[in-house]
Subunit: 326 residues, 2 copies
């Protein structure tokens, strides 16, 4: 019996922060967060991942080989089999062999997955989707990411590209999306999309409390500012949010008609900020678009439960699952 | 060892015909087709199903209890667990306990499933999707039906309502669909949708060879007439078909971005009539909308192989699968 049996190291690698945690059965035993410092390049960032992971291990009075595996969530496209991060724009990475490099440094099995998949795995194992067979996770942020759980397992598809629900086209030849196509849900319901509409409206002289928070050069719309404008009863913000909710409802209904899941979990900063009231109009509108109305209430549309911890807890879940498959 | 081990009875129950077949390993050993005569009511139709099934059995010199199971595909919504057809508009059926009634008559296990699911199961086992893990079937007819295969098995979802891909909304507040909602793919790409556009254009005085085949009271647009008009180089038919193909391409791309399947199989009378050339523009346009372009060619978009036999062969496949689960 190994010393830390059942404890896995989960790492959430973001463009801004790296957080590592030792996780057992969905509980964080120890954790540490540091800045990513992406400008140091892949080698520098990987060193920082090693360091923060070792710090967490030491807090449990343990060494790397006391743990059976580590899993790290990366903000981009990942080749699951090799653990290579093929592209992560926020880190300015291309084809970085993250798993191999970390394994060399730590001497234990290392798995890599996309950060959204990992968040969905966490919510499925210990969060809002705990115990269900079939689930879809929808993460609303600067983009719209997603992940699909089928028969209790993360579903990757034939090329590992499943779950890209933010790029479902819902308006033929519609708004330009960051992905280069037109009419994707992400171009209507992400925070980036909301910001663009707000900037256009402000440029046209629309009155709004947002004028004090946003200017034409703003690149992000913090969830806290969205909440502040809504609290102030701002008409523009209310309109823009309602539009986003409408498209998220269409996305939800389209997913229900294809996958008929037990649960759809909404996560991301905006959902955490606004909570369940953000989901209520989505639930109501989505349901109108379900083809099968029988037992419509059985499909639960829920806010995420793990919040920021979904990254590390989810990574630990994936570490355990992937280890079982090797 | 039973006499007909490995041979299952598959029945395709449609609004017009009932076809029964004895199937072994994807091969039809004997089959018979009769008119449904839906006007006789559920009891009359069930009697006819019994009779045609017994005829097929006799052709193999066998009795019902020489077979381990029968499965029947019904044109409507089915409760899988009970084998009740909850609604089949073409038969004017509501809550008909089809499995129980047939079991009483034949004395062997009887399973019921939706006809589209059964066609998809057949194409997956012995047709265009043979041997793949993940597949989506798209059947284009008077409506647009579908089915999803995940990890080699038919995927039903939490309420048995998965695969209703024809009701994916792709135009917010768009054309009215037969389902009562607006903007579904079915309202743009089914034969019913094509017919409506043709009727509108003819009413506006548009010149077309279709004027000789279609009038304002037509309820169906036979695939053979579509082919005839295309062969004549008819401009209206070409336009209408191109629009349908565009929406089928969006549907395909949306399914690829969510499910990343190995294969998407297109079936139904129109696809059989027009063959692979019908799919080529769908392939090309869909691919432009894939989020992940890497290995895009790995996702194969194929016409169905089994044609009319998908119903009976698929039913036999489902009989075998369901028997294994009981």
């Amino acid at each position: 019996m190994r010393k830390k049996d059942g404890v896995f190291i989960g790492v959430d690698l973001g463009g801004t922060n790296i957080e590592a945690a030792a996780v057992q059965g969905g509980q964080i035993l120890a954790s540490k967060k540091v800045k990513t410092k992406a400008k140091k390049g892949a080698k520098g960032v990987i060193k920082r991942v090693e360091k923060v992971s070792r710090t967490v291990m030491k807090r449990l009075d343990a060494q790397p080989d006391d743990f059976k595996a580590l899993c790290i969530g990366a903000p981009g496209a990942v080749v699951l089999e090799t653990g290579v991060v093929s592209s992560a724009p926020n880190l300015d990475w291309e084809d970085v062999p993250l798993a191999a490099k970390l394994k060399d440094r730590l001497g234990i099995p290392v798995f890599v997955d996309n950060d959204v998949n990992i968040g969905v795995a966490g919510e499925h194992a210990y969060g809002a989707g705990s115990g269900v067979e079939d689930m879809v996770g929808i993460f609303v942020g600067t983009g719209i990411g997603g992940g699909v759980i089928i028969n209790g397992n993360m579903y990757y598809g034939s090329r590992g590209a499943a779950g890209e629900i933010g790029h479902m086209v819902v308006v033929p030849n519609g708004r330009a999306c960051g992905c280069g196509k037109r009419g994707c849900v992400e171009a209507y319901a992400s925070k980036t999309a909301m910001l663009k509409v707000i900037q256009e409206q402000l440029a046209q002289g629309r009155k709004s409390v947002l004028a004090e928070m946003v200017d034409q050069s703003s690149l992000v719309l913090p969830s806290s500012q969205i909440a502040e404008a809504l609290d102030a009863g701002d008409e523009l913000m209310t309109e823009v949010l309602r539009e986003a909710q409408f498209y998220l409802a269409l996305l939800t209904a389209n997913l229900v008609n294809i996958l008929d899941p037990d649960v759809i979990v909404f996560g991301g900063g905006l959902v955490e900020q606004l909570g369940d009231p953000f989901l209520q109009p989505i639930r109501e509108t989505a349901r109108e678009y379900y083809l099968q109305q029988t037992d419509a209430e059985k499909i639960r549309i829920l806010p995420s439960l793990l919040g920021d911890d979904a990254g590390t807890i989810g990574a630990a879940v994936v570490a355990q699952q992937r280890l079982r498959l090797t």
